[in-house]
C-alpha cells in the first residue's frame, strides 16, 4: 500500500514526487488595518485537524503545477472533498 496524490495533469502519482505547500488558508488578510493577531493567525496558526483538510501541493518532480487536494491527516490518504465543500 503506498501513498499517492492525484495531480490534475499527470494523474495519480507517488507522494514523494510532490512538495507539500501547507493547509489552504485562503487569501492573505487585507494589508489595510491589519492587526498583529490577524497576521500571526494567518502566517503561523494551524487548524491541524485530525481528519480531512484542504491542502496545497506542487508536482515538483513532475509537471510543476500547484493545486489543492483534500487529505485525511488521521490516515495520511487523499480523500474526496467533504460534502458541501470544495
Amino acid at each position: 500500500m503506498s501513498f499517492t496524490i492525484t495531480c490534475p495533469i499527470c494523474g495519480r502519482r507517488d507522494l514523494y514526487e510532490f512538495r507539500f505547500g501547507n493547509e489552504d488558508r485562503g487569501a492573505p488578510p487585507d494589508q489595510e488595518g491589519l492587526t498583529r493577531e490577524a497576521y500571526t493567525d494567518y502566517v503561523h496558526h494551524r487548524e491541524a485537524v485530525a481528519g480531512p483538510q484542504k491542502e496545497w501541493w506542487c508536482h515538483r518532480f513532475g509537471c510543476g503545477i500547484w493545486f489543492t487536494v483534500w487529505r485525511d491527516t488521521s490516515t495520511g490518504r487523499e480523500v474526496e472533498a467533504p460534502e458541501g465543500r470544495t
Binding site: 500571526t40 503561523h44 494551524r46 487548524e47 491541524a48 485530525a50 491527516t73 490516515t75
Partner: protein
C-alpha cells in the same frame, strides 16, 4: 512466586476533583506532576493518559540528550536538563540506563562548519562543553567514519559535545510514573480528554471519557496531540504535527561509542546498551496524526548510514517505528500559562526535543503552576512571541544545514 510483584503505579480511584490535572501521561506530564507533588506540596494531582504511560512520543524517541542548541536561552534550559538526570536517578532510585557518550555533529560544507562554530560559541558562552573537530579528529573519535572524498557528502569536520548521551526512554517514563505515584499523584490510563470547561476566562473543569473533573489548573502536555486539546476551547497554536520515523538494526558488538549526527544526510545514530544501532530523523513535511512508516525512508536510511559508516553494510534493520513531533515555526517549544486562559498551562511544541527536555520542563512548569508566575527561565518561550515578532533563532541550528548551503 517467591515475592509479590509490586506495581510501579497502581490504578487509583477516579476522583471528580483535583488541584491540578496534566493532560498527557508522557515524560513531560509525569515530570510536572512529580515535581508539583515533591517540591511544591501540591499532591492532589491527576495525570490523564489516553492510552498508557509512555505510549506516545516518550516511548518512540531515540533517547538522545544534549545541550548544543543554537540560542543561549535554549542551551541554558537543556544544560540544566542534563544536570538534572543524575539527581533524578538518585531521587527516584530507578535505573534510567544513562550512557554519557558525547555527541558528534558532522558538517559537510563550509556553511555547516560556520553553523557549528556558532553553536560552539553559544555553548561556551553558556559554560557548556562543546568543541570544533577537524575531519581527522572526527576519525580519531569514531575510527569507522569514512572521512575520504568517496561519500556523497564528504565530511568537513564536526562539533563534539561531551555532555550529551543517551538514556533509556521507557525507564525514564516508568521511573517518573513510579516517583509521581509514590508522591500520591493519580495516574489515570485509558482516559481520554474530550473537553475543557471554562468560566469567566478561567479553567474550571476537564471533561474526560470517564466523567468530569473539577480543577483550577490544567497542563496541556500531550505532545503531538496538544493542538487538538487546545482546539477543544478554540485556542489556536502555531504547531503542526509531523510523523518522525526511527529504526534499529540487529544487535552488534560495541563499535559506535558516541552519538553521531549529520544534517546533510539527515541522520543520527547511536548504539544502544543492547548493541542495536538506533537511528532516525526522517520527517515527511506534511502534517499527519498517523504513525505510519515508509519504505522510502528505510532506503534513505540505509544509503546514508552505509555512506557515513561503511561497516554497516549488510547489517539488517530489525524494527522500524514512528511517532509524532509537534513542530513550531521557530523550532523552539511553547511553555506558557494563564494566557489567554487563566489556569491553562501549555508545555508543547517540542518538535524532536521532547525527550531531552522532559524532566527540566516538568520541573519549571511545576514551579509555574504552583506559583502562578512564570519562572525567569521560561519567559522567552511564551506563546505570544510569534505575534510580537520575537521568534527564537533555533531554525538556524546545525541540522538545517544541507550539503549545498
Amino acid at each position: 512466586m517467591f515475592w509479590r510483584l509490586k506495581r510501579l503505579w497502581g490504578e487509583p480511584t477516579f476522583k471528580t476533583s483535583y488541584d491540578a490535572v496534566m493532560i498527557g501521561g508522557g515524560i513531560h506530564g509525569l515530570a510536572a506532576a512529580y515535581f508539583l507533588a515533591r517540591e511544591h506540596g501540591i499532591k492532589d494531582v491527576a495525570v490523564l493518559e489516553r492510552r498508557h504511560v509512555g505510549y506516545g512520543g516518550s516511548g518512540r524517541n531515540t533517547a538522545i540528550v544534549r545541550a548544543n542548541q543554537r540560542t543561549a536561552e535554549n542551551v541554558r534550559l537543556y544544560d540544566e536538563g542534563l544536570k538534572l538526570w543524575p539527581r533524578l536517578i538518585a531521587e527516584l532510585d530507578f535505573n534510567m540506563m544513562p550512557f554519557h557518550c558525547g555527541n558528534l555533529n558532522l558538517g559537510h560544507s563550509e556553511a555547516a562548519m560556520a553553523a557549528l562554530r556558532l553553536a560552539v560559541g553559544t555553548a561556551n558562552f553558556c559554560g557548556v562543553r562543546s568543541e570544533i573537530l577537524d575531519r581527522q579528529q572526527c576519525r580519531e573519535l569514531i575510527p569507522e567514519l569514512d572521512i575520504s572524498d568517496r561519500p556523497t557528502y564528504p565530511i568537513f569536520g564536526g562539533m563534539y559535545h561531551p555532555p550529551g548521551g543517551i538514556l533509556r526512554h521507557d525507564a525514564v517514563a516508568w521511573g517518573l510514573a513510579k516517583g509521581a505515584a509514590g508522591q500520591g499523584v493519580h495516574i489515570h490510563q485509558n482516559t481520554e480528554v474530550t473537553g475543557l470547561g471554562l468560566e469567566g476566562g478561567k479553567v474550571v473543569s476537564v471533561e474526560t471519557s470517564r466523567g468530569r473533573i473539577r480543577t483550577p489548573r490544567v497542563l496541556i502536555c500531550a505532545g503531538g496531540y496538544s493542538v487538538m486539546i487546545a482546539a477543544l476551547i478554540g485556542l489556536k497554536l502555531p504547531i503542526h504535527a509531523l510523523t518522525i520515523q526511527a529504526m534499529v538494526t540487529q544487535p552488534l558488538k560495541p563499535i559506535l561509542h558516541h552519538v553521531i549526527s549529520s544534517g546533510a544526510y539527515h541522520v543520527y545514530a547511536n548504539q544502544t546498551l543492547k548493541g542495536e544501532i538506533a537511528t532516525g530523523a526522517h520527517m515527511d513535511p506534511w502534517p499527519n496524526y498517523t504513525t505510519n512508516t515508509t519504505a522510502h525512508y528505510i532506503k534513505h536510511q540505509a544509503e546514508a548510514m552505509t555512506d557515513l559508516l561503511p561497516f554497516l553494510r549488510g547489517v539488517r534493520f530489525m524494527r522500524h517505528w514512528a511517532g509524532l513531533a509537534d513542530m513550531t515555526p521557530d523550532m523552539a517549544p511553547i511553555m506558557d500559562g494563564n494566557d489567554p486562559v487563566e489556569g491553562l498551562y501549555l508545555d508543547c511544541g517540542w518538535g524532536y526535543f521532547g525527550f531531552k527536555s522532559g524532566p527540566i520542563a516538568g520541573k519549571y512548569m511545576a514551579e509555574f503552576m504552583a506559583r502562578g508566575q512564570c519562572p525567569e527561565m521560561l519567559e522567552p518561550f511564551n506563546l505570544r512571541r510569534f505575534e510580537n515578532f520575537r521568534p527564537m533563532g533555533e531554525t538556524a541550528a546545525v541540522v538545517t544545514y544541507g550539503p549545498n548551503n
